[in-house]
């Protein structure tokens, strides 16, 4: 399982440029025996036809991650860039990135501490002042390696450490993708449609299109969600706590959970003694925002794996939470058959 997470998180897939991660998902989804296709937006649709009913349950996890796009090449061969999706400016300095199809390595540079004025040292350096340095010294040389519009992605390997924890980039939402791939291994009474969406980080654009053409009867979104259980954050703003199990959302900024699905999800966790938590703050949105409003409405709920340091190259997750999310979802889907 860690192998799958490693492949998924190390693959590059900034919103709008999900090719590399899509290839891996296509391969892994096909291995489960699912009917696999790619829609016009680039969403991967993996379908397991139901044994009994024609009811369609859409599971969604987004393939894309936050990153950068190259917007200008300076005369000295340095790359100016813009962020794609929500990235904290403070974490960019000295980060390694990979650029374009070929994965050209680069580092994010700014003048060294020796050259900074006193007041500069106390300020967050604006991304506009930063460049990506790919180790060349002319525009011409840079242009041989990189084109405007190329995407850059954090370069970060998955590491297992501590007490069953992993560090990786893009856990939001490759962890959801990994959960979906696991759920696809089973067959259910109803049609299971696992949808690996594109462009969630810039406004749930893939999810909106997918929900429209899939016309599901029910939607469940699997996410990697923020977890702020760290010192200096008051307890009531932790959102989730690491190691306490999957987080079930009653509400976030993009949707209010369908009350019945929310109840059933909590009930399933309780009945099977699977640890779970309710999100203890209202923050962020996800594909549920567009799925639940598709056509005449789709009952939808969100289940998330808590991830610390989300949207950074070193996000962190507890493998127990990941495994418990899979357990909860399996039991819930089994339960769907009798409902």
């Amino acid at each position: 399982m860690v192998e799958v997470l490693k492949r998924l998180t190390e693959a590059r897939g900034v919103a709008g440029n999900e090719d590399e991660v899509r290839e891996i998902i296509l391969e892994l989804a096909a291995q489960t025996g699912a009917e696999v296709s790619v829609d016009r937006m680039g969403n991967v649709i993996a379908r397991k036809p139901g044994l009994k009913t024609g009811k369609k349950v859409m599971l969604a996890a987004h393939m894309d991650e936050v990153g950068f796009i190259i917007s200008y090449i300076t005369d000295s061969g340095m790359l100016k860039f813009h962020t794609v999706g929500g990235i904290d400016q403070r974490l960019l300095l000295s980060k390694r990135v990979r650029i374009g199809k070929k994965g050209i390595p680069g580092v994010m540079g700014v003048k060294a501490i020796h050259l900074q004025e006193k007041d500069e040292r106390n300020k967050v350096i604006d991304q506009k002042q930063m460049v990506i340095d790919i180790g060349v010294h002319s525009k011409e040389e840079a242009q041989k390696l990189v084109e405007l519009g190329d995407y850059a992605c954090f370069d970060s390997n998955l590491v297992v450490f501590g007490d069953n924890k992993v560090k990786a980039k893009a856990l939001d939402d490759r962890v959801g993708c990994a959960v979906l791939l696991e759920l696809l291994k089973d067959t259910y009474d109803f049609d299971l449609i696992a949808c690996f969406t594109v462009q969630e980080e810039i406004g749930s654009r893939g999810g909106e299109v997918a929900a429209w053409h899939l016309k599901p009867d029910m939607g469940i979104v699997l996410e990697g969600t923020a977890c702020a259980d760290i010192p200096d954050v008051p307890e009531h703003m932790h959102i989730t706590k690491m190691g306490r199990g999957p987080a079930i959302s009653y509400m976030d900024r993009s949707s209010i959970a369908d009350p019945e699905l929310f109840r059933q999800m909590v009930k399933t966790a309780r009945e099977h003694s699977i640890p779970y938590q309710l999100k203890e703050n209202i923050a962020g949105g996800n594909d549920a925002g567009v799925i639940h409003k598709s056509r005449s409405g789709v009952p939808t709920v969100v289940v998330s794996v808590p991830c610390r340091y989300i949207h950074s190259p070193s996000s962190m997750m507890d493998l127990n939470d990941f495994n418990n999310t899979i357990r909860l979802m399996k039991e819930f889907l089994k339960g769907c058959e009798s409902r």
């Binding site: 959970a257 005449s296 409405g297």
Partner: protein, 336 residues
């Protein structure tokens, strides 16, 4: 109207938890419509059939008012039994200080804030809490749970023609719609009345109901701000000067034909009206007009002071004239 409004504003119904208010409205209208149903998201959809017979299909008009109200949702319960909360819709910290709030099960509490705060400008909802009088977490958890939501506890009061209360946004619109349903004459148009959910969190119920209703034209009813209080931001809407025909807000530019239809009917029937441009804010028509291939849409606004506070204020005459205006639009043949 007064009794109806007092009744509707007193029913619990924050976004996402509209069961009680839906039942209350359903009870009011069910004997006056031909069909009634609740959709997936919880929108209440009532139909009055057209009187037209023959081959020509009637014009299907959707009229919408949102049932939901703003609220506070519990996100955390601390060891001393205080409830931390987040907002459902546009909740200003200043509007909720020391206010009494009520949960669906009738439990009430008082909202307060961390008093170590030095500058009130820094007051944010995450520095506030609800005190339900519980001594500790266990006691609190017996009464409420994370995910439960509270609304203002603020029974309606009247002062002459003015009504004060919470949730005028948009129970005032609901009351107008209910009254129109009860009083409207037969219509050549197919009338679909929708009491929507989750408007306050992003015009969500209107989006899905507009899709299923698939109307040829839409009107929503909602409250709007006024510019008639001391040193208020300039706005040419006054309380008591009649329902406002919306020109635009930040969610839509009203379709000129719908806007003109409203003005024409008001002029013909001698109903006082005013024109409204709302700088910030939106309403259900913002969602409806973008449904499918687009729906010509407009809004009849009810002037309202102190919106999103526990003491929103509307005028009786505005409400009554809004009913008249709506009926005169819906009762007559509509040519788009």
């Amino acid at each position: 109207m007064k009794e109806l409004l007092a009744n509707l504003t007193g029913v619990y119904g924050p976004s996402g938890k509209e069961d009680s208010i839906r039942s209350a409205i359903e009870k009011e209208i069910k004997d006056h419509v031909d069909e009634i149903r609740t959709d997936t998201m919880g929108n209440l959809i009532a139909v009055k059939k057209s009187t037209l017979s023959g081959d020509k299909p009637p014009v299907r008009v959707m009229t919408a008012a949102h049932m939901d109200q703003i609220g506070l949702i519990i996100t955390n319960i601390d060891e001393n039994g205080f409830l931390r909360f987040s907002n459902i819709g546009g909740v200003s910290p200043f509007n909720v200080i020391n206010r009494r709030v009520v949960f669906e099960n009738g439990i009430t509490g008082t909202v307060s804030y961390e008093t170590e705060l030095e500058n009130m400008k820094d007051l944010k909802l995450n520095k506030m809490y609800i005190d339900i009088g519980a001594a500790n977490r266990e006691e609190a958890e017996k009464q409420v749970s994370i995910g439960d939501a509270a609304v203002y506890y603020a029974p309606m009061a009247a002062a002459g023609n003015r009504y004060f209360g919470c949730a005028m946004d948009d129970r005032a619109g609901c009351a107008v719609l209910v009254q129109a349903i009860k009083t409207i004459k037969d219509s050549p148009n197919e009338l679909i009345f929708v009491f929507t959910v989750q408007e306050e969190v992003g015009l969500r119920g209107a989006k899905t109901s507009a899709y299923s209703v698939n109307p040829a034209m839409a009107i929503s009813l909602d409250v709007t701000l006024t510019g008639d209080t001391p040193k208020s931001r300039p706005m040419a809407v006054r309380l008591g000067a009649g329902p406002a025909v919306k020109i635009k807000d930040s969610s839509l530019i009203c379709h000129p034909r719908v806007k003109n239809l409203m003005i024409d009917r008001a002029e013909e029937a001698g109903i006082p009206y005013q024109l409204e441009v709302l700088e910030a804010g939106g309403t259900d028509s913002g969602s409806i007009h973008l449904s499918r291939e687009g729906v010509p849409s407009g809004v009849i606004s009810i002037p309202c002071r102190y919106i999103h506070s526990a003491r929103e204020m509307v005028d009786k005459n505005d409400l009554e004239n809004a009913v008249k205006l709506l009926n005169s639009i819906l009762e007559n043949e509509i040519v788009l």
